[in-house]
């Protein structure tokens, strides 16, 4: 019950953020250089058609009225029309969102699976080779630009060793049939369609982008895990547990890790910020048909409605992810529930 209350309160506290995000995307749209009406009207516009578009877009109204108009449109799920694809921005984004989510979540899972054991291992043997390896990975992981890591992997594993598939999208449709869309996540949809071959192919396509993306997220997680575990292991309660003769495994994974969970969860907010941002770069390298690659094309083509929709959707996604992390944090540590 207190958990439910926490959840409701956290959702409530996210509302100002959502409002702020909407306000910023609105302001950014008004900051477009030049006359937005002329811009939306296109190159072959006459003064008449520009004026028509201006009143159509409500640009002749006061800013505050325009803002409420924008809120109304958002409430109806209207993010405007993309000038490059000719489709509604929202349907474009929803079409491409699962590809980005699949990539981001796989990268996150890879980062967690490598970073947490590595951090724990390093914390139990400070000064050993594992600790040095951990530090080296953390230092290098934070210094390699994701797009450079990705290109290097493509060069080594696709061009030189030829063990990775061609870095073009999620599934080669020449050799495999796209499964019917259920969740939009290919790893799940191919299994639902009972097509293990396509599953394997989709997984092979996913490995390099997910690892290049995950390596960047690995550094902060491993660093925080190591520091938090060091602190927990040096604490009075762990000393007490040792004095009471509890097994090493129990102290490490039950007592210390549980106490270290909170800082690890807290750093995830920053990790998501990294991942969602770097996602854009990775999608460009691997021609991944997600919303990041879509936004890159939109920015280059000055397709502003699409960029605005993308920024808004990423920010909302980020807020939701942070809510989930918060919820986990309050499950991991009761103290969080009573904070503020």
């Amino acid at each position: 019950m207190p958990l439910l209350l926490t959840l409701l309160r956290r959702i409530g506290s996210a509302i100002p953020s959502v409002f702020g995000v909407i306000l910023v995307t609105f302001v950014l749209a008004r900051a477009l250089p030049g006359d937005p009406a002329a811009y939306y009207a296109g190159a072959s516009a006459t003064p008449d058609s520009i004026a028509q578009i201006r009143s159509q877009l409500g640009l002749d109204q006061p800013l505050i009225v325009q803002f409420f108009g924008y809120l109304g449109q958002l409430a109806h799920g209207n993010l405007g029309q993309s000038t490059s694809s000719g489709q509604a921005v929202l349907s474009d984004l929803i079409e491409r969102l699962p590809a980005s989510i699949e990539l981001t979540l796989t990268a996150l899972m890879f980062a967690l699976i490598v970073a947490i054991p590595l951090g724990i291992w390093a914390a139990t043997r400070p000064g050993s080779w594992v600790d040095h390896l951990c530090r080296l990975l953390v230092t290098l992981g934070a210094a390699f630009p994701t797009f450079f890591t990705a290109l290097t992997f493509v060069y080594i594993f696709y061009f030189q060793l030829d063990v990775a598939p061609e870095p073009l999208g999620r599934l080669s449709e020449i050799y495999y049939t796209m499964p019917p869309r259920v969740t939009g996540l290919l790893l799940i949809d191919t299994l639902l369609a009972g097509d293990p071959e396509a599953f394997r192919a989709a997984f092979a396509q996913l490995i390099l982008p997910a690892i290049s993306l995950g390596l960047f997220a690995l550094a902060p997680i491993a660093r925080v895990t190591r520091a938090a575990m060091l602190e927990a292991l040096g604490s009075d309660y762990c000393r007490t547990a040792r004095a009471m003769g509890l097994s090493r495994g129990r102290i490490l994974f039950v007592i210390a890790l549980r106490n270290a969970a909170l800082p690890i969860l807290n750093v995830l907010g920053m990790v998501f910020s990294f991942l969602l941002g770097a996602n854009v770069l990775i999608e460009k390298v691997f021609a991944w048909p997600g919303i990041g690659a879509y936004a890159v094309n939109a920015v280059i083509a000055s397709d502003y409605a699409a960029v605005q929709g993308f920024v808004l959707m990423m920010a909302l996604l980020f807020i939701v992810l942070n809510l989930v992390v918060d919820l986990f944090a309050s499950m991991a540590d009761p103290r969080v529930r009573y904070d503020d």
Binding site: V21, T146, L276, L281, V299, F310
Partner: protein, 296 residues
């Protein structure tokens, strides 16, 4: 330099007369930070005199020598237009460092104004500034930078501005926390009793003391600023060809991966890695120096 730190009103308070000795000691004890300092000197030197020492021009094309692998004539090989990759990497140092430093200086300056106001006065100023920070932090930062560049226009200046804006929250938060901590300390009370105005107390008595924390923040932030600016130019924003810049060079070189011309993207990429590594290690070293508590 030594005189400066021995004067009692040094910015790096609490002043210890042997701070440089301590610094030298730490550097000796920490070879990695020492290497980072040397690397920084090299980078700054390249940024200053790069165009003068580069063997070829940044945009000098040579159709007879396109896509040549690294050799004695071309240390890093040549790109598709026959331009010397080594020269371009060297000459790009200035632009990449300038973008990162420009962004960091901007957010440092604005953070040093807004943070202390929020931390010292509290109340509605704190609420407004806090909301502003929360709103920026509600975005994945690179995505926000893309949105800003798309809205303000695709130019190098706007890349610097966008990088500065997305990093602003970290400076404001650091400055706010540091000022808040000192607001009610005895020496500040004393300054208040002596009739100093709040602005004078802030400018003369508090802000100089928060500079060390802010400098650490800035140096840790420099690497991130480089990555961010290079990432934006990698996706085709800001810097335009044929301007040499590491991010865009990696992007241009990416097209030649499938024909095996690895040198076109590898060397500018490695330059980025070295620069970011240098700033990150320097930031860690500086933090160890200025905040002994965090030494491990």
């Amino acid at each position: 330099m030594t005189d400066q730190t021995q004067s009692p009103q040094t910015a790096l308070a609490p002043a210890t007369p042997d701070r440089w000795a301590e610094f030298a000691h730490l550097l000796r004890g920490n070879k990695i930070t020492f290497a980072a300092v040397l690397l920084l000197l090299l980078l700054v030197l390249l940024a200053l005199i790069g165009p003068a020492i580069a063997p070829y021009g940044a945009t000098t094309t040579d159709a007879t020598a396109s896509l040549e692998p690294p050799s004695a004539a071309h240390f890093f090989g040549t790109d598709a237009l026959g331009r010397d990759v080594f020269s371009r990497v060297v000459i790009a140092t200035r632009l990449d460092l300038a973008m990162a430093f420009g962004a960091v200086v901007l957010s440092f300056a604005v953070g040093l104004i807004l943070g202390p106001i929020a931390g010292y006065f509290g109340g509605w100023a704190d609420t407004v500034i806090g909301r502003f920070v929360d709103t920026l932090m509600a975005f994945p930062l690179f995505v926000l930078a893309m949105g800003i560049v798309a809205a303000l226009g695709n130019s190098v200046g706007n890349i610097v501005l966008a990088t500065a804006i997305i990093n602003l929250p970290f400076y404001i938060r650091t400055a706010r926390a540091e000022v808040n901590m000192r607001r009610d300390l005895t020496y500040v009370e004393a300054a208040r009793m002596a009739g100093n105005s709040p602005w004078r107390i802030l400018a003369v008595h508090i802000v100089p003391n928060i500079l060390p924390a802010m400098v650490v923040q800035a140096s840790l932030n420099l690497g991130w600023a480089i990555l961010n600016a290079a990432g934006l130019s990698f996706i085709g924003l800001g810097v335009r060809p044929p301007t040499p810049e590491w991010g865009i060079m990696v992007s241009e070189g990416a097209g030649y991966i499938f024909s095996g011309e690895w040198w076109t993207f590898t060397f500018p990429g490695l330059a980025l890695v070295l620069a970011v590594l240098c700033f990150n290690l320097l930031g860690d070293g500086l933090r160890d120096l200025l905040d002994p508590r965090s030494r491990t």
